[in-house]
């Protein structure tokens, strides 16, 4: 009994001065570095207000029923159970999103690297032109409406016109309203647009590889470009490869605008529906904000989880 009353007093006596000095230390540190905090503050203020805090709000809201008019009502895991057990359309959206992640994600990642790698073999002038050719679609904004003309359902559509002219089909195919074709078409256009930031990072990374390493490798017995790629190029580009992976994975989970522009919103039988379009449906049309937040939280967890996992895997490249 006695020990119990004494020991806290003793421990606070011992800890207190240490704690105080720690706090004082921190204060001193903060004061010493105050210019840095001031420099960072405008960016960080906006970043927290529009990115960090919204994530927290979104996760919190996902446990509430909220329709923007009434006060939010706590309903626990109900949004999630409805989403995962009772929402057939969400299952379609999940399936489509994962198809994007499994197919167009890795394909676009490999394409980014492969094209950058071949372009790196060219002379500087040609290299600049080819870089532009491959990068241009991703910054030309909303030119993907061109693909609407290509896949247009009447015979004036490019693909239909071509196929009819050469006798492959007799009457036009409704490319963008036929469930069978919607998803592949969105994937093709998505791939066309996806050689963006990571592609540039790869181009840049390839140019900065130390020439002497390659020469040393040649002396050590590397005989062709494939061996050079595997034993020298890939390991020296690991940081860029990880950065590119983050960009491509995040992009492939967020397909929405292309689907809406090509297949409409909602698309025929939800054939082009993704998690993001599902989120838009509940967030901007039905105003079920709690439910939409649950969708957003699921998306957040999936994106973050996949990225972290990939980072772990990529760390092993060339080891």
């Amino acid at each position: 009994m006695q020990a119990e009353t004494i020991s806290p007093a003793v421990s606070t006596d011992l800890v207190h001065p240490k704690k105080h000095s720690k706090l004082a230390n921190l204060m001193r540190e903060l004061k010493k570095n105050k210019h840095y905090y001031i420099l960072m503050s405008p960016y960080m203020l906006i970043f927290f207000a529009f990115t960090v805090i919204p994530v927290v709000i979104s996760i919190t809201l996902s446990f509430f029923y909220f329709n923007m008019l009434e006060f939010p009502r706590f309903i626990g895991w109900q949004n999630y159970s409805r989403l995962l057990l009772n929402d057939d359309v969400f299952m379609i959206a999940m399936r489509n999103t994962f198809l994007f992640a499994v197919f167009s994600g890795p394909i676009s990642y490999i394409a980014c690297f492969l094209f950058a790698w071949i372009i790196n073999e060219l002379s500087p002038k040609v290299r600049a032109i080819m870089t532009l050719v491959f990068y241009a679609p991703s910054i030309s904004g909303n030119v993907f409406f061109i693909w609407l003309i290509v896949f247009s359902g009447d015979r004036y559509g490019y693909l239909n016109g071509f196929l009819i002219k050469w006798g492959f089909i007799l009457e036009p195919i409704q490319w963008l309203t036929n469930e069978k074709y919607i998803l592949p078409i969105i994937m093709i256009v998505q791939l066309w647009l996806s050689l963006g930031t990571s592609f540039l990072a790869f181009i840049a990374g390839l140019q900065t590889i130390d020439k002497s390493i390659i020469e040393a490798g040649a002396i050590d017995g590397i005989r062709n470009r494939w061996q050079e790629l595997w034993f020298i190029t890939l390991p020296s580009m690991r940081p860029q490869l990880m950065f590119g992976a983050v960009m491509q994975i995040t992009g492939s989970f967020a397909v929405a605008d292309i689907s809406i522009a090509l297949a409409g919103f909602p698309s025929v039988n939800y054939a082009g529906h993704t998690i993001v379009t599902h989120l838009m449906d509940y967030g901007t049309i039905r105003f079920e904000m709690g439910y939409a937040s649950a969708i957003a939280t699921v998306l957040f967890v999936i994106m973050l989880g996949t990225n972290m996992l990939t980072q772990k895997l990529l760390r092993r490249v060339g080891e």
Binding site: L39, F134, I146, I203
Partner: protein
Amino acid sequence: MAAKTLGALRAPRKLNRSFTVSFILFLFLAVFGAFMVLPLVYAINNAFKPLDELFIFPPRFFVRNPTTDNFYDLVALMGNSWVPLSRYIVNTLFITIVGTVGHIILASAAAYPLAKFRFPGSKVLFSIVVMSLMFTGHVTAIPNYMVMSWLGWINTHASIIIPSLAFPLGLFLMKQFMEQIPDALLEAAKIDGASEYRIYAQIVMPNVKPAWLTLMILQFPALWGSDGGNFIYSENLKTLHYALGQITAGGIARAGVGAAVALILMIVPITLFIISQSNVIQTMATSGMKE
């Protein structure tokens, strides 16, 4: 002959390169290059097609009798409408320029301390920024709307510009690039008595010009293509991209004008990239993620 052309195309003095494989790879690149560039070439051609060529069957790829009628029609059409075309252009330019310049300044001001100094919170803040590269704005769309309406920014340009100032990719790339500024340079300035703000403005900023252009090339197209989203309702605040949507919604009679607007929308970011390409590549070389 073929060997000579190939020799001219490929970079000089590379080890371990067989001719056949180079040839196959370049062919492969050319085929996919065509796939990438043809839609853009088509978009350019379309803008100069007279109406009868736009609706010809079978559809024709290249323009035969180029005309600038579509651009005149565009000006005439928008001159007659309730909101003149110049209004959309001014709005788009305003959003894009303020957003891009502001982003470069704020992101580099935040990147400088993170790149060069260790202080309480610096590591945590940077890892939060890196983490935010791993999800998109869709995740935060709903709370963003609520924050906007709480701030009273709905239906103002601020709702588009302000959040874009703190685009995380820009800070990330800027920070990675700033790390290669030699510490000695900063030390020297400090000994000469320059304040941190002066060092940032007069020493760090001029040394990271390639990174400015990179941030510009990433930020500019995003804002340039912005249609105002859910935030802007007033017609006189809307953007050029929104106007394009309105025009093409007018149906086939507006196909020529739509092609003209599309050309304007796509040509500006592409031109900027052509100008800044070598600087962008230089910055991207430092983009890697460390373990």
